[in-house]
Symmetry: C2
Subunit: 292 residues, 2 copies
């Protein structure tokens, strides 16, 4: 059984056809430009791939957001009110599903990454998982009982407020909230403050303690609000290295012994992703497999 | 089909037998004392009730916590490391289930209340719901796809950190965190600050704005972390009245337009409970029905 998978990001769209992330028969990477030409190129890839490899049973799309995930809404499958020029209220799922003639599952990029890590990566063996990506923004994906969570819309964990670190007076750059988590701790916030990305700073730069504190607060919020069995911290900022353990220590500082479970103190609670850059496309495959 | 329901609180334990919360054949209220004598009285009630009305198909217990909800754990069904004298690591589910000879569902009081409101009260018609109780403490119950959520343990939403209101310098009373949400906004925190419970203060007392802000932040956290379709705010502090709308306004202030869904602005998003004091026992019935 073959599936189609789309990981739609703000700068590139990864497309694949295969029986799963470990058996990809065709794949491509398309630059994200204006919606019409971009989606036409995606469709053309799937036309060629299905002509060569045969039809697919379902399509999974893990997309940048915000998205309309309400199956009863007339704009289900659309990108919602994004600030990305031209993409607000663009129907992504509809035209691709029609072209492929198959069921479509549509979810956020971070829910997709959470699902991919849950099924094939760092989230194997648990039923409830939070995946944070800390990169150009901060996003949180949530898998409960093996399924991504939707509700009113979808979680937007990166925009939660944190307490200020006493050594940090950066105003924050989020256009909605100023100093929410994304405004304080994402890649652009780090670079705006320090003039360089984290991986160009010395390993003992004092800002690392500030950043670890913010990441620890974010993890503490997740533990208290969601009680996940594991937290995966991925994204470009985390790739700079050495932050998982300090973030976990700050998480425990903020929880202050209230959650005494010894698992919080083990190195398998706050972990890096295992799938790396493939988490998104793996998640899109998982969405497709579950939709078939 | 009959079910047994137990709502175990720190001061009283409500027990009932019936086909559901609308058809209760026998009920009693037992003072929460030392575990052995209290649980013996609970068991004696069920012995008498089942002798009179017949056997039950399942038992649902919604209990004060913290609890061990891990079905694979040797201490599943026990109260965990509570500060309530004598109750730490007491097995509640085991002896009652053996006595009744039926399947047992065991969950937190707030998950039970969330489930009860979801099935028969203010949460009808949505699939994802958060229930906050704001009383002697603050707790949050979470229902997703109609089921209460467990993970590492269970959510402890009342202990999340909020940003300080500029007019509030109260130190907070939580023995773990000082000024977490419970430490700042629960009933004892209000009384410790003002010398009187909220319902004894004038309706325009300026502290109401501070409290509404904290409740609004708590709701904003829930929206961003969980994306619920409805938030039910119950408990003794909320019963003082007039706080739901100001809390919803402060929630929207903190979200700052980021979640543009018009539902956030409607009066059916942040709502009072419909079951009142019966939410807990209703939730225990729901747990039993689902376990049967």
């Amino acid at each position: 059984m073959l599936y189609a998978a789309v990981e739609a990001g703000g700068t590139k769209i990864n497309c694949a056809v295969g029986s799963g992330p470990g058996d990809i028969r065709a794949r491509t990477r398309i630059a994200t430009r204006a919606p019409a030409e971009t989606l036409a190129e995606v469709a053309a890839f799937f036309d060629a791939a299905t002509a060569e490899h045969g039809p697919v049973a379902a399509l999974g799309i893990a997309s940048f957001g915000p998205l309309d995930l309400d199956r009863t809404s007339p704009t289900w499958g659309h990108v919602a009110a994004t600030t990305k020029p031209g993409w607000a209220w663009v129907d992504v799922a509809g035209p691709l599903g029609s072209r492929l003639g198959c069921p479509v599952a549509f979810d956020t990029d971070v829910n997709g990454a959470a699902l991919g890590e849950h099924r094939w990566g760092a989230g194997q063996g648990v039923s409830n998982l939070v995946y944070f990506t800390v990169g150009t923004g901060i996003g949180g994906g949530l898998v409960i009982d093996g399924r991504p969570v939707h509700g009113l819309s979808h979680p937007e964990m990166g925009h939660v407020r944190l307490r200020r670190h006493p050594d940090d007076d950066y105003r924050g750059f989020c256009s909605f909230h100023g100093d929410c988590a994304e405004g304080l701790a994402s890649g652009p916030a780090v670079k705006d403050r320090l003039g360089a990305p984290l991986n160009e700073l010395a390993g003992d730069h004092p800002f690392r303690d500030v950043l670890a504190d913010y990441l620890g607060q974010l993890c503490a919020h997740a533990v208290l609000m969601l009680s996940p069995q594991r937290i995966v911290l991925g994204g470009g900022v985390m790739n700079a290295g050495g932050l998982h353990r300090p973030a976990a220590e700050r998480m425990r500082h903020w929880l202050a012994g209230f959650i005494p479970d010894e698992r919080l103190g083990r190195d398998d609670f706050v972990v890096p992703p295992k799938l790396g850059d493939d988490a998104g496309i793996a998640g899109a495959f998982a969405l497709a497999i579950d939709a078939a």
